[in-house]
Symmetry: C2
Subunit: 206 residues, 2 copies
Amino acid sequence: MTTRDPDKTRHELLEAAFREIWEVGFRAASVDRILRSTGVTKGALYHHFKNKTELGYAVVDEVIAGWIRERWVEPLGREGDAVDVIRDTVRTASQSAVHDDMMAKGCPLNNLAQEMSPIDEGFRSRIETVFLRWMGAFTRVLKRGQEEGTVRTDLDAEHMAQFVVAALEGVVGMVKNNPKVEFAAGHLEMLFLFLDTIRTPAAQAA
Amino acid sequence: MTTRDPDKTRHELLEAAFREIWEVGFRAASVDRILRSTGVTKGALYHHFKNKTELGYAVVDEVIAGWIRERWVEPLGREGDAVDVIRDTVRTASQSAVHDDMMAKGCPLNNLAQEMSPIDEGFRSRIETVFLRWMGAFTRVLKRGQEEGTVRTDLDAEHMAQFVVAALEGVVGMVKNNPKVEFAAGHLEMLFLFLDTIRTPAAQAA
DNA sequence: GGAAACATACATACTAGTCGGTATGTTATA
DNA sequence: TATAACATACCGACTAGTATGTATGTTTCC
């Protein structure tokens, strides 16, 4: 009758778990609800994943990591003026954020970090890995800007990258409490102002 | 035998609930654990609070709001160069953060905002009130700085205040995932750098 | 035929909240 | 001032529901 496709089953479980976790958090995520939304049974889920925690780990390693790669790591690797590349990436991401209802739901990576990092080392270390890749992408483009003379060299590229990610997550977090468009726009405006301050004086002329 | 003291009972419940919520979040907070840690009984708790949610609301209105007032609103109201007042307040807060184990547990207000704002309007509006008071304190000192000529007037004080709070929460959130001292120090360094960029050129000479 | 993939029923542990009842404090009245 | 009448504060066993995870059986595929 029903043809079996373990890869597809596993993939559907990961996607459904990702959505469930994004909406209510990991601990409040219901295994039964994930099963209902996919049509998969409990036996199948516990065949593919040892327990709920391992399912959560796989969501970080596979779904969320890919999400960040697509939206941030790859766009930040493009050519062009370093700060412009960052600005464009932030703009694009903020537009797709509106589409994904991220203003209300928050960043899936940061949500999980806030909830699980202090209480589960398995989550913490996996989330850290994704954050490091994300910040690494910022670091690379900033270092390139420094070599090309468009980014200030009196500041450490890694520190700047860390702060940009922190500010981004901070902005998304604030908007989550007060999802007004004007509120979000004001935040972005200040973020772009900060980005301009890390340009070299020569590059700021533009 | 035991003398009754309703005010004390209520206060102890609020403090214990605050700690419990800070550590595991609101939804994972166990009423029974709060009762065990205080020695108060279930009947007494449900005499003082209608339900767990109302207890949570009271924690925001009374405990967390007071926490922010002490650590931020009052210090930011002090006299002196506006940006210096902000720097000092951030420094003091970051030191007491180490003492409160906030690096691992995160900001109690933001934790609750991230967890509850999207799913409970009662929490969201109360948390927003506290955030607005917090940002209001920043706005006031920044406006004063603008009047005194130490803060740039080409930027909107409210937007700056919002961004500073967002960046602070972002930094605390990042440190929660990676509580290394050097990591936190790097973030603070960049935050102070940003604060210097909102000074007027004349004030930056110092 | 044997292992992987899936299905179903159930075990166990937790949760918030309720409810009948008791103890203590306060106020009114004679 | 003594006492009745009432209000507030508190007690703790219990309920109903939900959670993850397991044990065992069945189907599909190589």
